[in-house]
Symmetry: D2
Subunit: 335 residues, 4 copies
């Protein structure tokens, strides 16, 4: 039995993690922390939550757990990671702190020095389907951002084809409101969301853009730039990314379709749709799946890629990573 | 006083037209037709509708009206247009029948021979801001499609700049459900729409793609191809298009911003947002406005363009065209 | 031309008032206040708002206006009312401060002494259809609560019939989220509202319950108690009240239907539906109307009554009252 | 292993049943029927459905199953029940055919003679918490209607108290759109549902009213009449009933609260909320639970009762009944 602690259990991601781990046959939740609600119960916060006590992060009995999940703001996550690693725990970090491998890039996008740059080498970027070799036994896993997960899983097979790309990669992404977090503010007020649809930080202004670009550059040096345009959807959960990749020369969609199907043939959580089908949120909400459809328009390949932002885009992928780290069946607790 | 008749008054577009014309100080509605509901009242169909009798199309007293609005399916619209023009009425057609100027292209996309190809020369493409010179006194106006309106108004000033484009123009568009029409089917069932978000006919598969491409080619020969990707939003009304145009060389966003502001400085229904602001549905629903924001990502200009699909994208623009045709103030009845 | 000032213009009700008064042919807005946003423009707050400067309440030039509208929290409203009346302005108060005529009842429900009990005699309870005689020239009008408006307009004709009631009057009411105000909090977070439906303060716990009960007792001494159960709907606006009134003896629905139709025959903003029809939000949103349907179940009369909470339930009724106070056509600016 | 067949697997209820039974450790689905989609796969209809073949009802191999679930229209269900019982299968019927025990009442409300009145005696009304004694080994179970489940579970303990009631029992109920079924029509069109809220068949006009009244009369002869008012909520799933029961004399809420808690102390799927808490949809969606809150207003007890209409109101309760019929743990497959 794997013993686990959850830091930041009252946010949407933390609560989702509790729900998964409560039913995970190989995991025992030892503690759940909350700065705002310590002393209360998780069931005070969420109508359907289990009756789990909330303690402060300082009280967390790190000596009782094999692994901690960090659902904390950036910077706070890195600091807790240091403490937890020192205490001998494995760390699955759902924040952005260990996703970017250059401290300078981190400083530029997150507005502060990286709190633990010495750990950047240790951290495994946990896009499970791609990082599976590095994960078993890993000490520190950086769970990818929600948007990057939807975009990178859709692009990965293309970078194994030898095609060259022309012009920027454009990812036009749309996310449900849970991506904006549990904090009540103007952005999440029902009146501002319902009957509305809003782009935000489009182009090269959102923190997930350098994350996507970094991984693509791992896959291919001198890859074209990424344009990433997030939009807020009036739905509770789910991300759909419509991704435009223009190739340097004509291509045969059937061939690429076959390549994608082969690339993901043995993946339990990635589904390539049949030719002509497009991914929708309805394919993926409340699942750990990434569903991908392929379309052609001239020399441009259009990928539609859908995930549940709270599951495959956060808590689900975190547990998928944990399963691989601890070398148990990768799908345990996730189907 | 302009006397008007509405063919197809019970669809969403027809009903919106009734609402505008009922309050238009220079228009008198003489008749409203419906094939499915003739003999009933418009107030039987819509909870807030005026008590307007519905007659069949065959009963329409064409000799009593100066102008007819056609909110009919394609082909049926062209046939009614012939009859109405013969009777001496001006025709504002909200269907697709007179938008494409090549009968062959029409046949390819609409699956039948054009019912009245001799009228294609007569028809004015009523993107009012662009067609204003041709509209006064016009006999037949083709109101642009909803998606093309949002895309073309956003692109128009760019084609006056002398910039050359590189790679395809990509319009990633999102529309509310009223765009799918009043007919109840799987697509419009609440359960399939709410909490969901779906692409459909993306790439070069939707009938509005050749319409956009045609107009762009009027503006610039050998313009790059258009990729057009519509998506269905879980909202009742509104379209947001996020448009990616990659230029052949670096550009200065401030310069383009200024150009856009100048281009639309005197337009009552087009609003260029200040630098850094992005268009949203909340800017435009229930108005005849098109609101446009400009963003830069490297050599790519990203335009966000929002309209209300039933107003600026249909009934509003139809009335705007009518006002210009009859040479009354263009904003009458629309503010 | 009536000159007007609006206190609290950035709340949902205040903004709605601005929208009405901007188009009201007999009103000139002289100023709009906001404590949180003074120095900014209303168009900074709402995407479609006019470019109206926001000043602090202290700066308000009371000598320039004939009337002020108070869209302020309770207590603050009463204090501003005192100042404005002293300056010679008429006051239309949209807060709860002058709705209850007993200072003790106010203290009990609002948790503080009434700030201006000497004005309670002056205030006219502005349920326009019922108060029309007292309104012309009135100095101070208390606009009824949104829920009470929907309930009282539905009940009023019944209290003119001579029927006696048996058991409590039960009003099961459902309101859109704008009723909860512009402040972002847990209650108004999109994730807590969408796909959900929640009762709150049901029975005899909501401040609108004593307001309803007070008015009913004006109409009939020893009226039965009122049970009032509000619920939060996942919609932006609108209230539907389903009201159960059990009569002491059998009744003929046709007779009551006819009585209701006669009672409201000349009312521009109250609509009695034909027999068998039920009121819905779709009948009334974005209008100043109250739509009422009547149903029978044994000795129980069931009334369905719908209004737009921001219009007939607040800003619309406020302007309707203002029209009567200034003796201009009651519907001006409201259709 | 229990072998099961599902008649009508493509409706919302049938699909929900498939989802439960697919994961039920003691059940093997042998077949799933659909009249409209036979020859296709369930995954053609629902984006997340398993790849289950759909056969016509006539092809169903009744000899291979221990139990059949009927998610069919009324009358069709009774006919299939006869065939299935003859073939030796147990029948869990989710239609209305065996809920009313008087053929005359059935004929009155369903507009036709009962197709199999001889089975009415055999059928067990499967409100599991109340019928548990009769269920083990039962041949034919009538799963209660969704609305009746929410109302009856909330009322049941009251009828064990000895209190007498005064005046009608009023159940003001609100349901999500899945209750209206998978068929696309005006009622379920997104545009007619979103931003709207509608009562329908209120008073004593809905088929669930006699069902509720019948069961209450089983519990107490000469019980007062039931007024039942359904409303359509703009949410996909969930029912909240606000129920008003006026007692003949004053009561102590604490005492009734304690009685309710005791009555349901051992029930895995009924939860009595602590004093002061009200049931909401958020408590129950996607669960088989019924959550109940108690409030007092004078002599009136107000019950708020929430269920998921597709689970505890249909497929979940059906499986709960099946578990008891086959004498396996009642919660199997449902948590």
């Amino acid at each position: 039995m794997i013993t686990a602690g959850i830091f930041g259990a009252t946010g949407f991601t933390g609560y989702e993690l509790v729900q998964i781990l409560e039913k995970h046959p190989d995991v025992q939740i030892q503690f759940a922390t909350s700065q705002s609600f310590s002393g209360q119960w998780l069931s005070d916060i969420y109508a359907q939550a289990p009756h789990l006590p909330l303690i402060s992060g300082e009280e967390a009995p790190l000596d009782q757990v094999d692994v901690v999940f960090l659902c904390l703001p950036h910077a706070a996550a890195a600091e807790t990671a240091v403490t937890a690693l020192d205490a001998g725990c494995k760390v699955i970090d759902l924040s952005a702190d260990f996703r970017l491998d250059e401290p300078d890039v981190y400083a530029q996008w997150y507005g502060r020095e990286h709190p633990a740059p010495h750990l950047l080498e240790t951290a495994v970027y946990g896009l499970t389907e791609w990082s599976r070799v590095q994960l078993p036994g890993a000490e520190l896993v950086a769970v990818p951002g929600c948007y990057p997960t939807s975009v990178l899983l859709a692009l990965r097979p293309l970078f194994q084809t030898g095609f060259t790309l022309s012009g920027p990669i454009i990812a036009d992404s749309k996310s449900g409101v849970s991506g904006a977090g549990r904090k009540a503010n103007e952005t999440t007020h029902f009146i501002n969301v319902t009957d509305n649809f809003s782009p935000y930080k489009i182009g090269q202004a959102h923190r997930h853009q350098p994350e996507i670009e970094q991984v693509i550059n791992w896959w291919q040096e001198d890859a074209p730039p990424v344009i990433f345009s997030p939009h807020l959807l009036p739905v509770p959960r789910g991300i759909l990314s419509t991704i435009y990749v223009t190739l340097s020369e004509p291509f045969d969609l059937d061939e690429i379709q076959t390549h994608y199907q082969n690339a993901y043939a043995n993946e339990p959580f990635v589904c390539i749709l049949p030719p002509g089908k497009l991914a929708t949120l309805a394919h993926v909400t409340h699942t750990n799946k990434c569903v991908i459809g392929l379309t052609q328009a001239g020399n441009t390949l259009i990928l539609t890629s859908a995930i549940d932002n709270l599951l495959k885009g956060a808590a689900g992928q975190a547990v998928q990573n944990m399963n691989v780290v601890f070398q148990i069946d990768e799908t345990t607790g996730l189907t």
